[in-house]
């Protein structure tokens, strides 16, 4: 909301500068975006062109002698309309025009020039307010304009504009009058009466005009008739105030409707009465009904839109924009004024779908029906004065509203208790008086009457906020709540996992959960339905991720594109799914590793066993030591390398996947791990046990086993363990060999086996017996022992 200070000063006497006013309003809860002069230019003066000759070195420049009062300046001017005798706006040397455009004395093509003759555009007026002539040449002031004076002042454009960013509840401040009440409450000033007086004819509009309201979405509808208007340009003050408020002046009648809306906050619509059939009807639109609005665009409506009809067809989109057919034109003589309130939710919906206007913005926030009446009167007052209108007596009226003040009871104690202040009773009452609320005090209770203009005030807490706002919350002294001491809690496990991953050398990322719909279904064979946004901003991010892998792959690709090839990252975040029509989300841990992990001369490229190591570290850390295995139980997602990927099985349930991405998905060697933490953390963990180091020495024996390539080391280890019994206390693979000496389809796995017991030292004989048993057992199953 752009507030013209000239405008608001019609209703309140204040003498504060623009910035102070803006700051004081901010303290009361009304933030502003900017506070500037309407015409933000300095050192301007009215001049008269005394002489005007062609520049000797140019075919379009003129050399002018301009009388600016105290002196006559030589100024070179390029405008086509410059001529002798013209009254012009002169920017003197030293002037600063909008856009930090500084005027200096200088030489133009060899001729001295001491200033600039200005167009309206150069004064910073928004281009939508410019007339064609304003764009083509310098501004021509009326011939009687006195030389040497301030042209901005003479043009009535000396104004300050504060652009407020209002909160959603303060619809009342979308009017100059509402602003006046607010400013009045801050500075304790009385708001002046709105001038409504006008004369009326003896006719009565009700004799030949009627209104039908056929929807519950219109609470009040008033119609008034005025006749014989003279369409012309508006007086300067109306035009300037409209422009300062951001509205383009059109003609006196249209301008007055906008002026009253700005002033009172009540949007109005003026119809050309001669285009109507003696009636207006408010109803919901028919599905698919067409209407051409003022802006000459044909709109297709739905049953959710409120329309104004002439009895046959829609002629206006209620609360949003009027229709083209019934608009005020240069030939309009007689007018029907509509002042009404439409349902804010319906208007909001329509304006969101079709078009947002100054009117719809106000309806959306809600209005005071008292103003609906006042706007009719104010229109009549101004139309009589500035459009020579004859006002027809009577008012067509449909009204279901309640114009009474809102009554709220509150105690002094409650106000202070909530605010944490000790405001004196009299100071609280003073706030109510400043706000223009009336009250009665009965012991500790205040019965407050809030005028309907403050429709945002409904409950006692609203009043407390008003007291705090106007009294000043800066006065509140902060303190800590006197609550019982206790230790707070937080999710330690997630934080521990995060720290563990960092200890393992991984960098934490924070990625977007929204991914592309094609990516969202990748990297998993789980059965779920991807969740798509109804209204995505981009195709790139139109679906909620299920797996976090797409998010981390994106980060990897971003790094790779910037030549960062060593990426070791992790993230703990959410994955989303829809299953059996229900939405769900899981906390997941995702890791991506590629390139080199550590630095130095002897580093190596990350491989499957590195990321498997990370997986085991975290599982061991969480207490799953001995309870997990790596296997391929299900069909692997096709984005993974079929022979370098494993499912992670904890307590006989798959909780995640670890492996290499398929070369067709990622050309480089990229390894990923994903664990569903929600699923993992509900699995039973092992207990920590104390184990003493044996006092007796253990014995190590090496054993190399040659088996088919497909046999896993785990299978052999299990066999060895089974055959060896409990004297085998450790088994470690120290070499895997294929090549010379070993058949093509075979491999050799070398184990270092450790034997021992807590009770005694084992004899060679004992150990050899066990070894023989192992060898025999393995050979029986087709393994060969390498001697």
């Amino acid at each position: 909301m752009k507030l013209s200070t000239n405008f608001v000063k019609d209703y309140i006497d204040i003498d504060v500068d623009l910035k102070t006013l803006a700051e004081d309003m901010t303290k009361a809860g009304n933030e502003y975006d900017s506070a500037e002069k309407f015409i933000n230019a300095t050192n301007l003066v009215v001049g008269e062109v005394m002489e005007c000759e062609m520049h000797p070195d140019s075919d379009h420049l003129h050399v002018c002698k301009v009388n600016v009062g105290k002196e006559t300046l030589q100024i070179v001017c390029g405008a086509p309309n410059v001529r002798k005798g013209l009254k012009v706006i002169v920017a003197l040397p030293g002037a600063v025009l909008p856009g930090d455009f500084r005027i200096k004395a200088g030489v133009i093509r060899g001729i001295e020039s001491n200033g600039m003759l200005c167009s309206i555009a150069e004064l910073g007026l928004d281009s939508k307010f410019l007339k064609p002539e304003d764009k083509e040449g310098i501004h021509e002031l009326p011939i009687e304009t006195p030389v040497g004076e301030d042209p901005i002042k003479l043009m009535g454009m000396e104004d300050g504009v504060i652009d407020f960013e209002l909160t959603a509840n303060r619809g009342d401040l979308l009017s100059v009058l509402g602003m006046a009440y607010e400013i009045g409450a801050i500075y304790d000033k009385k708001v002046k009466e709105v001038e409504l007086s006008h004369s009326e004819s003896n006719e009565n509009i009700n004799n030949n005009f009627k209104v039908e309201v056929n929807t519950e979405n219109c609470s009040i509808f008033l119609a008034k008739k005025v006749e014989n208007v003279v369409i012309k340009e508006s007086p300067e003050f109306i035009k300037n105030r409209l422009m300062a408020s951001g509205i383009r002046p059109i003609n006196n009648v249209v301008d007055i409707s906008n002026y009253v809306m700005l002033e009172l906050g009540q949007p109005l619509h003026y119809y050309d009465a001669d285009t109507l059939n003696g009636m207006l009807e408010v109803r919901m639109a028919n599905e698919g009904e067409k209407l051409t609005t003022l802006d000459d665009i044909e709109r297709t409506l739905s049953t959710e839109d409120i329309v104004i009809s002439d009895g046959n067809k829609a002629i206006g989109l209620a609360g949003v924009m009027g229709g083209l057919e019934t608009e005020i034109t240069e030939n309009t003589k007689n007018i029907i004024i509509e002042s009404a309130i439409f349902d804010s939710v319906k208007i909001r919906k329509t304006s969101k779908e079709i078009l947002r206007s100054e009117a719809s913005t106000r309806f959306e926030k809600g209005l005071d029906a008292n103003r609906t009446y006042m706007a009719i009167e104010r229109s009549c007052n101004l139309l009589e004065k500035y459009a020579d209108a004859k006002i027809v007596g009577g008012l067509v009226k449909y009204d279901t509203t309640n114009l009474e003040d809102t009554k709220i009871d509150i105690t002094f104690e409650k106000i202070n208790k909530v605010l944490g202040l000790k405001i004196e009773k009299e100071d609280i009452l003073y706030v109510f008086r400043k706000l223009g609320f009336t009250y009665e005090v009965e012991n500790e209770v205040v019965h407050v009457s809030v005028p309907k203009r403050r429709i945002d005030i409904e409950i006692a807490e609203d009043l407390i906020e008003e007291v705090g706002r106007i009294y000043g919350v800066d006065n509140i002294e902060g303190r800590l709540p006197a609550l019982p001491l206790k230790e707070g809690s937080y999710n330690k496990t997630i934080r521990n996992i995060r720290n563990k991953m960092i200890d393992l050398g991984l960098n934490e990322t924070l990625s977007y959960i929204l991914v592309n719909d094609k990516e969202a279904v990748k990297y998993s064979t789980d059965i779920f339905e991807a969740i798509k946004l109804l209204d995505p901003m981009t195709e790139e991010r139109n679906t909620l991720r299920y797996s976090m892998i797409p998010s981390l792959v994106k980060i990897y690709e971003y790094n790779k594109a910037r030549n960062q090839k060593d990426v070791s990252i992790f993230e703990i975040g959410k994955g989303f799914y829809k299953k059996d029509d229900k939405f769900g989300e899981n906390t997941k841990l995702c890791v991506l590793m590629t390139g080199e992990r550590n630095s130095g001369l002897n580093t190596k490229q990350v491989d499957f066993y590195d990321i498997k190591g990370i997986t085991e570290e975290i599982l061991d850390y969480l207490g799953y030591n001995g309870r997990y295995s790596f296997m391929i139980k299900n069909l692997l997602p096709k984005e993974f390398h079929p022979y370098q990927t494993a499912e992670i099985n904890v307590n006989n349930d798959i909780v995640g996947i670890v492996g290499k991405l398929h070369p067709e998905v990622q050309k480089d060697n990229v390894y990923v791990l994903e664990i569903n933490l929600d699923k993992l953390l509900e699995k039973k963990t092992g207990k920590m046990k104390y184990k003493e180091i044996s006092k007796f020495p253990s014995v190590k024996k090496d054993l190399a086993v040659i088996v088919e390539k497909d046999v896993t080391s785990e299978e052999i280890a299990k066999q060895i363990k089974k055959l060896a019994g409990n004297l085998l206390i450790g088994s470690k693979i120290f070499d895997v060999y294929t090549g010379t000496g070993i058949a093509e389809n075979k491999k050799s796995i070398a184990y270092s086996l450790e034997f021992g017991t807590q009770e005694r030292t084992l004899t060679d004989e004992e150990i050899n017996t066990i070894l023989e048993k192992i060898i025999e057992g393995l050979e029986k199953q087709g393994a060969e022992i390498r001697k």
Partner: protein, 272 residues
């Protein structure tokens, strides 16, 4: 005989001092001090000496032996040191070559901040709570006094996945969960940090960002307590010199409502 011993002493000393390597030194050790060495031979020849001469010569031989042994040991040490030095010199490396680093990982800066916030509030007795990110309209809006068609919904243009479900636009959605679940109506002291999502994206806005929500429910709690708590919070996060200003504002789910301005490092007022 005395002359003979002195002769050995002189020759041996000279030869030991001029010895070139460890092997030569060992040869000399055998030559003079070995079982068949020259000095040993002298001792053996002492049988022909008188009872007066024997102890004198004997002690002289011992003195010379000790002297030579000492000399040899010194020489041996010198050779060992030299040998070691030679060996070590061969192992010389370029100490400026790059080190083998086990890289440490890192915490995301946002999570570092969130953990800091959590730690502070946990120390003040708050529980950190969490809620769904894919939320119902009911919890995200309706229960927060933002019915359908409410103008304040504009501030939070949202990502809906069905007319009923959306990505939460604010952690305040968790407030409603906490209150609904608090069946015995006991006092509440929680914070809820988390990701929220809004349908706008430009140079200064990301569609996904983080919020921290705080909720205290108890008797005798006032704005002053809120202000004090925020003061502690802001000073911890932004420095002891930070100052706060409450500015009245509007949120449909709080009454009265305030925005908090804090002084920033440039000591300009800045919105939180």
């Amino acid at each position: 005989m005395k002359e003979q011993i002195e002769g050995i002493r002189k020759n041996a000393t000279e030869e030991i001092l001029n010895v070139k390597d460890a092997k030569e030194l060992n040869d000399l050790k055998v030559k003079y001090l070995g079982k068949k060495g020259e000095l040993t031979a002298v001792l053996r020849g002492m049988g022909g000496l008188s009872a007066e001469e024997r102890p004198v010569i004997g002690s002289l031989v011992n003195v010379v032996r000790d002297e030579l042994e000492k000399l040899i040991e010194e020489k041996e040490n010198a050779f060992r040191t030299a040998e070691m030095e030679e060996k070590l010199a061969k192992e010389k490396i370029d100490i400026t070559l790059p080190s083998n680093k086990i890289k440490r990982g890192s915490k995301h800066p946002l999570n570092r901040i969130i953990e800091e916030v959590e730690d502070l509030f946990v120390s003040m007795g708050y529980d950190v709570v969490d809620g769904p990110e894919l939320e119902t309209d009911e919890y995200c809006f309706e229960r927060l006094n933002l019915p359908q068609g409410h103008p304040a919904r504009d501030m939070q243009d949202s990502f809906y996945v069905t007319p009923e479900y959306l990505l939460r636009t604010q952690t305040s959605a968790v407030q409603a969960h906490v209150m609904m679940e608090n069946e015995e109506k006991s006092p509440v002291r929680v914070i809820c940090p988390g990701k929220v999502y809004r349908r706008d994206d430009d140079a200064t806005h990301s569609h996904q960002f983080a919020q921290v929500e705080g909720l205290v429910i108890d008797k005798d709690i006032s704005l002053a307590d809120l202000k004090g708590t925020l003061e502690v919070f802001m000073k911890k996060m932004l420095g002891e010199k930070t100052q706060l200003r409450f500015r009245p504002s509007y949120f449909p789910f709080t009454e009265p409502s305030y925005e908090v301005d804090v002084t920033c490092f440039k000591c300009q007022r800045k919105r939180m």
